[in-house]
């Protein structure tokens, strides 16, 4: 056996798992049901219903990304100065990731639904029931809960690698504690922030499970529309066409993000 034959499994994997499905997606996306080439499935993104779903997806995933960033950065800053039990604290943040993603989202369903745990508590202390589930808030909440570790990890990775001598040097040169963060830690953690944003924004943009379970099928994100075309609508061509649009969207945003992360340091 020469060395090359060791790469065979990976080549098979790439062909079977990436290239063939991609080719099929492009074929379906660029043809109609009769098999004639067309761009209508791509242009379908401009239909009002689809455009609205795309807009909502962008809005919710952006909101989720901002919330994740605002939650993660202070924690990562605090973790920098934690000497003992740092691993334990990071572990606690990561622990939910070990529970299946569907189960975690289902748990939020149980918490938020009309006769759910939170409304039960509200009723018990004499407050009126609140409409929690099937709202944009519920979807964003679910997204943040599921994707937070993907923001925290890369930022924590980059920040914990910044040597103490750098912050001490800034402090020594007259910087206040706030300036140490804004002038030294923040610029040095850009790669981590960028990769955190990528790892949260992209899956949040295309999710349909979270919006299905916590949006009750009433709030349609672009992921839901695509899913429905494949399942309920039985229109693979349209589903594939919209998927291509999303893929282009993600590739463009990745290229944009890559500009900030030239060295790829943030990718943990």
């Amino acid at each position: 056996m020469n060395k090359r034959s060791f790469t065979a499994p990976y080549i098979i994997w790439i062909i079977g798992g990436t290239l063939i499905p991609l080719a099929m997606m492009f074929y379906y996306g660029l043809t109609d049901e009769s098999g004639t080439w067309t761009l209508q499935n791509i242009l379908a993104i401009f239909e009002p219903g689809n455009l609205r779903a795309l807009w909502k997806s962008l809005l919710y995933s952006a909101a989720c990304t901002v919330v994740c960033l605002l939650l993660s950065y202070p924690i990562a800053l605090i973790l920098r100065n934690v000497k003992r039990a740092k691993g334990v604290i990071v572990f606690i943040f990561l622990l939910p990731m070990w529970v299946n993603f569907l189960l975690r989202t289902m748990a939020w369903q149980v918490l938020l639904e009309k006769g759910g745990v939170i409304n039960g508590i509200l009723g018990w202390i004499g407050l009126p029931k609140a409409r929690l589930i099937n709202t944009p808030g519920a979807i964003i909440m679910g997204m943040v809960y599921d994707f937070l570790p993907f923001m925290l990890l890369p930022i924590n990775n980059v920040l914990s690698k910044v040597p103490n001598s750098l912050t001490e040097a800034a402090y020594d040169l007259g910087a206040s504690k706030t300036q140490v963060i804004t002038k030294v830690l923040l610029p040095l953690s850009v790669p981590g922030i960028v990769s955190g944003i990528t790892m949260v924004f992209v899956p949040a943009l295309t999710t349909f499970v979270i919006s299905n379970m916590l949006g009750g099928g009433k709030i349609l994100l672009i992921g839901n529309i695509i899913e429905q075309e494949f399942t309920v609508g039985d229109n693979w061509n349209l589903g594939a066409g919209l998927s291509i649009v999303m893929m282009i969207f993600i590739l463009v945003s990745m290229a944009f993000i890559a500009k900030f992360d030239k060295k790829g340091e943030g990718l943990a």
């Binding site: 750098l166 001490e168 402090y171």
Partner: protein, 357 residues
Amino acid sequence: MSSTLVELEHISKSYGSKLIIDDLSLTIHENEFVTLLGPSGCGKTTTLRIIGGFETPDSGRVLFEGRDITNTPPNHRNLNTVFQKYALFPNMTIAENIAFGLRISKKSKQYIDDKIKYALKLVNMEDFADRSVDSISGGQQQRVAIARAIVNEPKLLLLDEPLGALDLKLRQEMQYELIRLKNELGITFIYVTHDQEEALTMSDTVVVMNQGYIQQMGTPESIYNEPENAFVAAFIGDSNIIPGFMVQDKLVDILGVRFDCVDSGFGTNTPVDVVIRPEDVILGKPGEGRMDGRVTHIIFKGVHYEMEVMAGGFEWLVQSTVGHPVGEEVSISVDPFNIQIMNKPASEDEEAIKLDE
């Protein structure tokens, strides 16, 4: 002596149960080059960090120009630090690194530009302003770190083993460079090192530390020529430390042989440690000196030969420009003024010598 700049008053510091600095007091004058010298773990870096404001002492006070700054944070102290590993900001150019402190204190652009130029010229790095930090060598990074510190015109510059990571040749060059800088700038340097040669070369005052105590403080000459205890003698240069006893003033018994010396005030028949530098041992023909012995080792060191001579049950370290082959019978004598008498250490602690360079 010029006026006092920094005073440490009864500083103590421990980490957990480990005592790092024990009741240390030290006065540093303006325009002085002070070196804290000692093996790792002796408390020298902690002392520097307390002066810099990165550590707070458990007890005691730090005075700067007579003002108590014990609890003043580093950004409000009129001093700057050159860190052991340079600590340059990798996201900034050389010029931006140097401008950091000046921008924080909101100096005008013209002032900052002039200062950058001046500082780069001072450390011979004029052409490097727009280079990135990781494109220059360790020695150059060290110069930039110094430039970045001095543009803020501190009264005091703290240097934490700044030459430790450089190779020997560069280290020696930088030693001259630092002396020149100190003289040009007229500011006080506190320098931490475990390298005795660095300490002796550059300092006005050397403070030898071990286990959180100051062992001896003085000019490089006095530290080298008149070590006060066995630790200092062993740490600074090579020496023969031989147990003996003072017979009376100016007469010491070494290995059963009486030597004339110049020390007095130790009492009569007091056990002492005797320090004799290897270059002060005079070898002669058998019977010509105070005691006879035999050469057991010899190596050529360039300027001189280094020999070991077994005499009176002690292995003497001898340096001489004249070599004697192994096995040759020789005699040993020492001029009285080259015999240094030290009190025996009072406690086990003082005796503990860690030479982990």
